[in-house]
Symmetry: D2
Amino acid sequence: MSETIGFIGLGQMGAPMARNLAQAGFALRVWNRSPDKALALQQEGVVVVKRPADAATPGGIVITMVADDAALKEVAFGEDGFAEVLGANGIHVSMSTIAPATTRELATRHGKLGTAYLSAPVFGRPPVAVERKLWICLAGAGGAKARVTPLLKAMSQGIYDYGEDAEAANVVKLAGNFMIAAASEAMAEAYTLAQKAGVDRVAVAKMFGETLFACPVYQNYGKQIAAFSFEPALFRLALGLKDLNLVLGASQENQAPMPFASLLRDRLLSSVAKGRSEIDWTGIGLAVAEDAGIEPEPSR
Amino acid sequence: MSETIGFIGLGQMGAPMARNLAQAGFALRVWNRSPDKALALQQEGVVVVKRPADAATPGGIVITMVADDAALKEVAFGEDGFAEVLGANGIHVSMSTIAPATTRELATRHGKLGTAYLSAPVFGRPPVAVERKLWICLAGAGGAKARVTPLLKAMSQGIYDYGEDAEAANVVKLAGNFMIAAASEAMAEAYTLAQKAGVDRVAVAKMFGETLFACPVYQNYGKQIAAFSFEPALFRLALGLKDLNLVLGASQENQAPMPFASLLRDRLLSSVAKGRSEIDWTGIGLAVAEDAGIEPEPSR
Amino acid sequence: MSETIGFIGLGQMGAPMARNLAQAGFALRVWNRSPDKALALQQEGVVVVKRPADAATPGGIVITMVADDAALKEVAFGEDGFAEVLGANGIHVSMSTIAPATTRELATRHGKLGTAYLSAPVFGRPPVAVERKLWICLAGAGGAKARVTPLLKAMSQGIYDYGEDAEAANVVKLAGNFMIAAASEAMAEAYTLAQKAGVDRVAVAKMFGETLFACPVYQNYGKQIAAFSFEPALFRLALGLKDLNLVLGASQENQAPMPFASLLRDRLLSSVAKGRSEIDWTGIGLAVAEDAGIEPEPSR
Amino acid sequence: MSETIGFIGLGQMGAPMARNLAQAGFALRVWNRSPDKALALQQEGVVVVKRPADAATPGGIVITMVADDAALKEVAFGEDGFAEVLGANGIHVSMSTIAPATTRELATRHGKLGTAYLSAPVFGRPPVAVERKLWICLAGAGGAKARVTPLLKAMSQGIYDYGEDAEAANVVKLAGNFMIAAASEAMAEAYTLAQKAGVDRVAVAKMFGETLFACPVYQNYGKQIAAFSFEPALFRLALGLKDLNLVLGASQENQAPMPFASLLRDRLLSSVAKGRSEIDWTGIGLAVAEDAGIEPEPSR
C-alpha cells in the first residue's frame, strides 16, 4: 500500500468509492471539477489537488469515475490532463460508463506514452457503492490488471474479467444498463396493465420480486416503478438517455439491431422533452402510465 | 381427504401436478383428451375416466389445466362437459393460462349453476411442477379458496391471493408471462451485441445471472439464449405466441398500451412464420441473432 | 333499372352512397338502426323500411354499409336479418370494412341459402362519397359482379377487381387503411421534428403535398396533421383503432408480422385511453407532439 | 453567366447536375475524388481541376454534392479545401444530405472568412437529376440566395425557401428522406400481407399508385417493392442507413422522438448486417418478406 493513487471524479458514485479506498488504507490524491464535493473527503484526511494532472504520479495509478466520454478525455488529455504525468508504466483505470470507441481512442493515446489503459466499469447504485458491494467488469492488459486488483477489491464484491481487449468491459457494461432499462419498461407495462385491470400494482411487483424475478433489479427498481417513486434520483434520467445512446452507438458499430433499445431511447428522449431529466431513470414508468390514460400521483 | 377431486388435462404441466396430488393422498378422477397420456397415471392407481363429465362429482372440486380458452370451455360446457354434474356448491379451479374475458364468461355460467369459479394459474415450467415448486396466483370467492388451499399447497411452494375477482389472477399470470418474454428478448439483444463485439455471450449471461439478475428467469432462460439451445422445448414457441396474443387482448380491453408486448408478438409471429412453432419460446433469440447477420449453430 | 335494391346502413358514408344510387334512378328500400337518419332520404322519395329483412326481395340485391363485423352479422343473420328473404339467386354486396374472417363466415352462410356474397369495400371519406368519387375493391363470384357493376359505378370513380375469392377485397381494404395510418404517423413525426427545429410545419406539409407526395392522402391528411386540426372527425379515431385491430388480426392469421401496424395500434389505443375516441384518427398527431414536449393548440 | 462556378462531387447525382449547369451555359470548374468520373465531363468541355481549392475563385460560388458530412468538411476546410480561396463575398452552396449540426459548424467557419453558406439539398433520384426535375430546399442568407437562384433553376423544377437559417433546409431534407423510408416500409408490410393472403402484390401496388397514393414515391418505390426489384440501386441501402442516422441525430438534438425512424434504422442496420449495403434502400422489403417466412425471388 505504499504507492499513491490518483482518483478523479467525486460524484454520487466516485465519492463513496474514493472513501472506501481511503478507508482501506490507500493514500489518495483526489480531484473533482466542483471543489466543494472534495471538501468532505479532505476533512477525512484525503489529499485534494487542484488539477487532474496533480492527481497523477509518474508510473503510478489513476482511477477515473467521471460523467461522460468528453469529461474523461478532458481529465486525461485536456490542458490540465494527467496523461503526460502518468506516463510510462502508469495505469489508467477507467471506471465510467463510456463508449467502446472512446476506450479504443484512449487506449491508443495512453499506449503511445507507455501507459496501460484498463476498463473497469461498475454495476451498482450509490448505496451499493457505499457498502463496497459493486460488481466490476474488467478488461485490458493482464499485468496491469494484477496490479490494480487490490484497489478494485476494496470497492466491490466481485470482479469479472473479460480479457485483454479493454473495450469488452465497456460493451458488457452497456449491455447491462440496457437490460436494466428493458426490465424497467417491462415492469412498467406489466404493472400498468394490472392497475387498469383493477389489480394492486404494488402487490404484483412484490410477488414478482419474491418469485420469478427475485433479484436486485426487479426488487429495487420494481418497488420504485410500482409506487411511482422517482425522486430523489439514484440515477438521473438524463444519464440514462446518455447511456442508451451509447448502447445504440455500439449497436450501430457492431451491426447488431436492438429494437428494445431503440424503443427505450425514444421513451427516455420523450421523458427529457417533457422536462424529466432530473428524476430517476425508472421514471420512464410515468410515460407508460400516461399512455394508458393514468395521471399518476407520485409518492416520494 | 375424503372427497374425490376431478383433474382435467394431463399435458407437460398437468401430468406432474396430478401426480403430486395423488401422492399427497388425494383421490383423483382424471381425464385427458388423448387417453395414452393418462395411462401412466392409471398404472399408479389413479382413476381415469372417459369424459370430462365423469371427472366431476356433484358439489365437488374439478381442477383444469388445459391448452387454451377453447379447450377450457369445451371440457366445462361442451357436450361432455363437467359443469352440469359439478353444479351447486361445486368448485372449478382453473389453472390454465387464459384470457380474463374467458374467466368472466365461465364465472358467470358456472355461477348460474351455483358453482364457484376460481382462477389459479401457475408460474413454473414442467421440471418445477414435478418438484412441487410452482407459484400460484389465486383469485375468486373467499370460501371456495379456503376449501381448495390444501390441494394447491400440494402442488406449489407459494400462493398469492389477488382477491375476490377471479380475473385478477389471470391478469397477473399474463403480466408475468409477458415479463418473461421481455426478459428473453432483452437478453438476446444484449448477448448478440456482446457476441458481435467479440465478447463471449455465454460468459456475459453467466455474469448477469450471478449478479444483477440472480433469479430463475435470467439464469435458466439466459443459459438457453446464450447457448442457442432451444430444443427440446420446455414451453413451445407457438404457445408463447398464444400467450402474447392474450396479453395484447388484455392490453386492448384495459386500454393499456404495451409496446414491448407488441414487439414480442411480432417476434414470435415471425418465428412461427419461419417454421419454429415447436422449439422453446426463448428461440426468439434466433431471430435476434439473424437480424445481426449471425447464423447461429444451435447447441442442444 | 327495374329491380329494387336493399340498402342497409345510412351513416356518414352510407347516406351519400344511397343518395347517389337513388339519384342514378335505382329504386331503393333503405334501413338504418337509428330511424332519424333515414328521414332525409324518405323526404327525397326513398322507401324506408322497419327491419333489415324488409329491405330485401327474394333473389334481389342488398348492399350493406354498417359500422363493424358484429353489426353486419346482425343485419344479415340476426332476428330481423335479411339473409333468409334474399335467398337463392340473391346477392349481398358488403361494402363495410370488416375482417377477412368475417367475409369467409358470411360467404359460407349465404352460400347455403344460394346467395352470392361480394366484398366491395371502398376508399374515400364522406365528402368523396358525396361526389361519387369512391374507389371500390371488388371480389367474389364473377356472375354476381357483372350484375352489380352498374350500382357500383353510380357510387365511384373506379373499381378494382381482385378475383373470385371475396376475402381478397377485404385484405386490400385493410392494407390501404393501414397505409393511410402509417402515412399519418410518418407525417406527424416529420412535421414535429421540423417544428422543434424551428421550421414551419405547415410549410413543410405544403411542400411535400406538392412534390414527392402529391397525392390525396398526404395533401388532405397532411393539412390536418400540420395544423393540429382534428375536429370534426371525418373518420373517428375509435374506428381507426377498430381497423388497426382488423389489420393485426389479418397479420396474425396470415403470419405476416407488421411492426408499423403494431406501433399504430398502440398509438391509437393510447389516444382512446386519453379520451380522444371522437376526434379524427389523424389525431394520433397529438400524441406525437406531446411525446416531443409540445402541447399543441388545436386549430379547428 | 460571366462568372465561373466551382462544382465538387460528380457521383450519381452530382454528375448530371453539373452537366445540366454546363449545358445551361455556366462555366464550371469541377473536381471529384476519383478523377475518372470527371473524364466524361472533360470531354464535354468542362474544366476539371486537381484539388478542391482549384475549383474556387475568390468571391465566387462553389457548389458541393458529396457523399457525407466528413467528405464535405474535407473538401471545404481540409488540406486542399476551397474555403480559404473562396473567402470574402463567396458563396458555398451545399447540396448534400448532411446533419443540421454540420451546417451550423460550416456556416460559422465560412462566416469567419466572409463567405455565405447556403443549404440547398435536393429531392430526386439520378434519372430525375438528369431531367432537371429535382426539387430543392433552400435556406441561408437572403442576398446569397438571389445570386445562386439561376444556378438552382438550371437543375430543378422547383425551389422551396425555408428562410435565413441554413439548417432549416437540412431538417426538411431529412424529414423527407425519413418519409420516403417510412412509405417503403409501410408498402412492404401491406404488400406482404396481401401476398400471404393470396392476393397479387403487384396488382395491389398498382391500385394504390393510381388512387390514394398517386404520387411519385408510392408509384416508383412501390413498383420496386412489389416486384422485389432492388438492383441496380438508385440509392444505396448503406446511404439510407447513413440518412436514418442523421434523422435520429436530429431527433435527439431537437428532443423529438420518432419511433418509426427508430424502427427503420434497425431495419436498415439489419439489412447491412446481412450484406445488403449495395442494393437499393427499398430493399428493406426483403426483410419484411423474410419475417413473414417468404424467401423472395428477386426480379431485376
